[in-house]
């Protein structure tokens, strides 16, 4: 069920309240742009996708019934628009294929664990070192954030999209499943792979 505020907002939009619309664009626009950017080849195309998505939102607003939250509904329109555009660009983003070829590896390199011929197989041989040992402020430096930004860009698109929605934009797992139409397991596997790689890159960098 939509919240009272949400129903009020939808009514305001239907009544042509420009301030309500501007506020909505401010609230979701930046996240939409970031998510769209993960689907398509350039920032310019991402902006076109966002524009097209908002036109779709306006077109559909009269029929919006509040079966999902307004946010989920808007981001479904956004991702569908972005998917269509990605296909036209010759980029396909496999959300259903769990076993993508880049990823037979686990979250951590296997050689950091003790082998089967040891007394404690599968336990840490090279355990991670706490990051608070890194020089003061390094973790929170702009450079660290730039590294994360670059690493997200290197991920396979389906992982980049899921980790962006979850960890940058703060969607919960269910929102992401509903927006992308993927299973709970799928959502988690993609998030797990993405976070594992980001952690690994940070570890490398902070060493």
């Amino acid at each position: 069920m939509p919240s009272v505020e949400e129903r009020r907002l939808v009514d305001a939009l239907r009544a042509g309240d420009e301030r309500a619309f501007t506020k909505l664009v401010q609230e979701y626009g930046p996240a939409m742009l970031r998510v769209a950017r993960m689907f398509v080849s350039s920032r310019a195309v991402a902006e076109e996708v966002v524009q097209e998505a908002w036109l779709g939102v306006l077109k559909g607003l009269g029929r919006f019934e509040g079966r999902s939250s307004l946010k989920t509904w808007i981001f479904r329109i956004l991702t569908n628009t972005a998917k269509t555009r990605a296909v036209r660009e010759g980029r396909s983003i496999p959300f259903s294929a769990l076993a993508s070829d880049d990823d037979e590896s686990g979250g951590v390199e296997p050689d950091r664990f003790l082998g089967d011929d040891t007394r404690f197989p599968g336990h840490w041989a090279l355990p991670p070192q706490r990051w608070d040992a890194a020089p003061e402020g390094r973790l929170l430096a702009d450079e660290t954030l730039e590294l994360i930004e670059r690493e997200i860009a290197k991920l396979p698109p389906n992982q980049a999209i899921v980790v962006t929605m979850r960890d940058v934009e703060g969607f919960d797992a269910e929102d992401v499943r509903n927006v992308l139409d993927i299973s709970e397991t799928n959502q988690r596997v993609l998030l797990h792979r993405a976070r594992s790689k980001l952690r690994r890159a940070l570890e490398e960098y902070l060493r």
Binding site: E18, P30, F113, G122, H123, L145, D167, H192, R195
Partner: protein, 82 residues
């Protein structure tokens, strides 16, 4: 109830995301927590995952460029007149 088998670190690192999402069944959750009690390596690993999530959350989205915002507002005006 006795846990049938202890988890090894290589298994725990693959359960971290589900653990943080509170998506493990009660038995698995308990096994992970038992492991974390005595394993510094996995505790650090879990902490680093939390830190990774927190750092990723510090990325700020760019603002919507002014021309795009303006054209959206124009589209809205046209839409509400129709």
């Amino acid at each position: 109830m006795r846990l049938d088998r202890e988890l090894s670190c290589i298994e725990v690192v693959e359960l971290v995301t589900a653990y943080l999402d509170d998506a493990l069944g009660a038995a698995d959750r308990e096994r992970v927590e038992e492991h974390l009690v005595f394993c510094d390596g996995c505790s650090t690993y879990l902490e680093q995952n939390r830190q990774t999530v927190a750092l990723t959350g510090r990325l700020v989205p760019d603002d919507i460029p002014a021309p795009l915002r303006e054209s959206l507002v124009a589209a809205f005006r046209e839409w509400s007149r129709a």
